[in-house]
């Protein structure tokens, strides 16, 4: 006997599922969805959970993460209930539920909180740089002495550890909430991890199953790889990346940086453009957190490019300022978005596929045992 919570739907509406009440459960969305598969039908089933207020059912579903927001369901919905927007809202809802700190909930509920936090983090970072920075040499561009790499490296590592801890805790909570499998051997866990999380993280291949997502997929891949490249440069090769040496254009570090930046600019630019134009179904509504994420990302890339440009133009002061602003923006991008907001999907999506697989295996085993 399932108990119902009629208030659940209101919470989802706050997160962007404005029209979902209009649903009359015809099933066209599910039958249209290129990603719905046997045993994991969505969106209609998820919509029913939400409308009836079956909170537990909703939180234990991995299906919302299997949706890549191609918008076909919304386009074919005879009642105009916007199931795609609803699934997006459910992902926001789930993000707030996986997060144990409660920050996520606050960010999603209030633009003000998000804005203040961002400004706060920005200010703290800029202030810290102000406090720790080395000699400002104005005769030439000398980043190493302005902000020695080992200090940045330290910051990098602190943030990395904290973030990973937070994100992994959230992923673990997601595991607790969604995976019912208790009867599969540990080796299977490892094997499936390698089979699902790794390739999906690397290729995002499921996105291509959507009929009209090819361009989105390209843009998405550009962002992923652009970001990953820079991330590796910054965290692993910071010594080489943040340096006073003027690399020739063909140097892998410089060229790689350029390509990655270009990829990010194009990818994020496409996303912003789409959201402004609102031309496709999937871009009709953007939650404030989407905007924060994209704006921050874009600003980070631009300031990064500026540092480089100023460095090669030999403008020391401009370079230092750009660098400070850049770091000031990077901090909120990493600290807020990765564990608590939009960017957390980089972990949730591949893990959702993994967890779904685990559940399936477990179910198959149960059937085997009983049969």
């Amino acid at each position: 006997m399932a108990k119902v919570n009629p208030k659940l739907i209101d919470e989802l509406k706050e997160l962007g599922a404005f029209d979902i009440s209009a649903c009359y459960s015809c099933g066209v969305c599910t039958a249209t969805c290129p990603l719905a598969q046997e045993g994991h039908e969505f969106p209609r089933k998820i919509i029913r959970y939400a409308i009836l207020g079956l909170e537990d059912k909703l939180i234990s579903s991995t299906e919302p993460w299997l949706c890549y927001y191609c918008g076909e369901c919304t386009q074919s919905c005879p009642r105009g209930a916007d199931p795609a927007g609803f699934m997006m809202a459910v992902r926001r809802y789930l993000t707030t539920h996986y997060d144990f700190t409660g920050f996520s909930r606050r960010f999603y509920r209030s633009k003000v909180v998000e804005l203040i936090s961002t400004i706060l983090l920005f200010t703290v970072t800029v202030l810290s740089i102000y406090l720790v920075h080395g000699p400002i040499i104005l005769t030439r561009v000398d980043l190493d002495s302005f902000l020695p790499p080992h200090i940045v490296e330290l910051g990098d590592i602190v943030i990395l550890v904290v973030l990973s801890a937070l994100l992994l805790t959230n992923v673990y909570r997601m595991y607790r909430l969604t995976v019912m499998a208790r009867n599969i051997p540990f080796t299977a866990y490892i094997k499936e991890f390698v089979r699902t999380v790794v390739p999906h993280f690397l290729t995002q291949i499921r996105m291509l199953k959507c009929n009209r997502n090819t361009l989105n997929w390209i843009m998405h891949i550009l962002i992923v790889y652009g970001y990953a490249t820079i991330f590796i440069f910054v965290v692993v090769f910071l010594d080489l990346f943040q340096t006073n040496v003027l690399y020739p254009i063909y140097s892998p570090i410089r060229l790689g940086g350029y390509i990655a930046s270009a990829a990010l600019l194009i990818g994020a630019g496409y996303a912003i453009y789409g959201r402004l134009r609102k031309d496709t179904v999937m871009r009709q509504y953007s939650h404030s957190t989407d905007w924060f994420f994209l704006t921050l990302l874009y600003l980070v890339v631009i300031t990064g490019v500026l540092i480089d440009a100023f460095k090669y133009m030999g403008l020391p002061m401009e370079t230092y300022i750009a660098y400070t602003v850049h770091l000031g923006l990077v901090t909120p991008l990493l600290v807020l978005e990765v564990p608590f907001a939009k960017w957390s999907h980089l972990a949730y999506r591949p893990f959702a596929i993994y967890f779904t697989r685990l559940n399936d295996l477990s179910k198959a085993r149960t059937v085997q045992v009983t049969a």
């Binding site: 108990k3 009629p6 009359y24 089933k45 029913r48 009836l52």
Partner: protein
């Protein structure tokens, strides 16, 4: 064509587009009857009743080939008149005609035995031929017809019919059993009638007002049809008008006193039993007709208290018998809502009401208050007393009552407008918001009202109680047949329609046939609905 002429019979057999010819061998029938004496023409045709088919007959009559006609087709209820008209047009005598029913009587009932069906058709046609051989042409007589109509029932249908008839110049007698006009529609009161902006009571009031302005309408309330005799065009009707026990309209002061004085109390049928009334029945709404109160003698114990506060009360009045002559009768006896049995979906327990009772509550209090509190959640259970399945020992209404889905949605949308926070569940089988009413359904959805569908094969929804609060248990088809528990403050049973008490009575007096559902039977659902 005159009697002196020898009889020349034409036989026309209809295929009825397969309805007949799929079973009866029409060609064979034609061959058989052609051999009969006096038969000069025997033909078959896909649709005798069509223009082309009728033309066949007309041509044969015009050319003088035929002076008596047998048509073998469907039931004479459908097309006897059609062919008589065709014969008249061609200059024949419409009564030198015999209509043989070989569809209902042969092809439809003997589908399994084609040969016998064919033989039966042949025999029937031969009999008709024999009849015509001895028939004499009749001629029409003209009978004067009363230009007046009796309308039975003062609900919305009766009011509208009376108004239309009156406006087309006929004299109208409107008879209503209850002391006041308006019927069920008036009781719906202030709920808006989708898709219009008007409320039900507005519509009733408007009709009553217009009707009262007509000079050629006589309205009898508190009256019953006693007896009907006569024939088409000339009915003699006896009406018993029961006394109101009032000699005119009391003034406001007297009305206030009358409200208080009577000691006898009963449930008020106007609010579907939600509130009480006394034996003195006052006009139930503004603009009601007549404006004069009436005393319910079934309840009154003649204590005489009322005569002391109002000198217009006259307990000695007696019923009047009125004889009318009318040309036609319109039966608009309406419906009564299905009354659930005690315990049916928890009916009779606190927090379980019918849709009509809920409407009564809304009209009485302008709000929904159950046990002194506004409900935070309401469940509507549909198809109560409709679409029932036939079971041993239980009366079942198998029909769909057509209006309940829409009425319930309409009420729910109205409630949601003034009770913003309320959660509303609709426990339904199919949402039958046909036509433009689909927009009402959509409106309800968009307001966040929740549709739950149950499958009757998995059992009906159950109403149980925990801590004195009703809980609806239902398996939701839309959510993997999951069993849901809905804790609610109010359960509303969306009850269907049944023929009103007057319907059976009138049907008896007028000798009108009724369908298996108890409602009146029309001539033909499609031809004369």
């Amino acid at each position: 064509m005159e009697g002196g002429n020898k009889i020349r019979i034409g036989v026309y057999v209809c295929h009825c587009g397969g309805n007949i010819s799929d079973v009866v061998n029409v060609k064979k029938v034609v061959e058989e009857v052609r051999k009969e004496k006096d038969v000069v023409v025997a033909r078959d045709f896909m649709f005798m009743c069509s223009e082309a088919g009728q033309k066949l007959i007309e041509d044969d009559i015009r050319s003088g080939k035929v002076n008596a006609v047998v048509v073998a087709s469907c039931s004479p209820r459908l097309h006897e008149a059609t062919f008589r008209a065709a014969i008249t047009r061609a200059g024949g005598n419409p009564y030198m005609y015999y209509h043989v029913d070989i569809r209902e009587e042969c092809s439809w009932v003997h589908e399994d035995n084609k040969e016998e069906a064919t033989n039966k058709a042949v025999r029937q046609i031969k009999a008709a031929i024999a009849y015509l051989r001895h028939a004499e042409p009749l001629s029409k007589i003209r009978v004067n017809c009363e230009r007046s109509v009796l309308v039975i029932g003062g609900g919305i249908a009766g009011l509208r019919a009376a108004l239309d008839l009156a406006e087309s110049g006929l004299t109208v007698y409107l008879v209503e059993r209850a002391p006041f006009l308006g019927g069920n529609a008036a009781r719906i009161g202030r709920v808006k009638v989708f898709p219009y902006e008007k409320t039900a009571i507005d519509i009733v009031r408007e009709l009553i007002e217009r009707l009262r302005k007509m000079g050629n309408v006589a309205i009898y309330t508190n009256a019953e049809v006693e007896n009907v005799s006569g024939y088409v065009g000339n009915f003699d009707v006896t009406i018993r008008v029961n006394p109101r026990y009032f000699r005119g309209k009391p003034n406001e002061y007297e009305i206030e006193e009358l409200k208080k004085i009577c000691p006898r109390k009963t449930r008020d049928e106007f609010s579907y039993g939600v509130s009480e009334r006394t034996a003195i029945m006052l006009p139930p709404f503004n603009g009601a007709y007549p404006e004069i109160p009436a005393i319910d003698m079934a309840l009154c114990d003649k204590c005489g208290l009322c005569t002391k506060v109002c000198n217009k009360v006259d307990l000695s009045q007696e019923s009047q018998i009125i004889h009318l002559k009318v040309g036609a009768i319109v039966v608009a006896t309406g419906f009564k809502p299905y009354k659930p049995e005690k315990g049916e979906y928890g009916y009779g327990l606190p927090g379980v009401v019918t849709l009509q009772e809920l409407v009564g509550i809304i009209n009485r209090y302008g709000d929904v208050v159950i046990n002194g509190k506004r409900p935070r959640s309401i469940a509507f259970i549909y198809c109560v007393g409709s679409r029932q399945r036939r079971e041993e020992g239980r009366k079942a209404n198998e029909y769909c009552s057509r209006y309940c889905c829409i009425a319930a949605l309409d009420v729910a949308v109205t409630i949601k407008e003034f009770l913003k926070g309320v959660t509303i569940y609709h426990v339904v089988r199919d949402v039958r918001s046909y036509g433009v009413n689909e927009l009402l359904f959509e409106e309800a959805s968009r307001q966040g009202q929740i549709i739950i569908k149950y499958d009757i094969d998995e059992g009906e929804p159950q109403v149980t109680y925990i801590n004195g609060k009703p809980i609806v248990k239902v398996k939701d088809v839309l959510t993997e047949h999951m069993e849901l528990e809905l804790p609610v403050d109010l359960v509303v049973l969306v009850t269907g329609m049944e023929p009103s008490d007057g319907t059976a009575d009138i049907a008896e007096k007028l000798k009108i046939s009724r369908g298996t559902d108890g409602f009146l039977q029309e001539v033909h659902p499609n031809l004369g609905p």
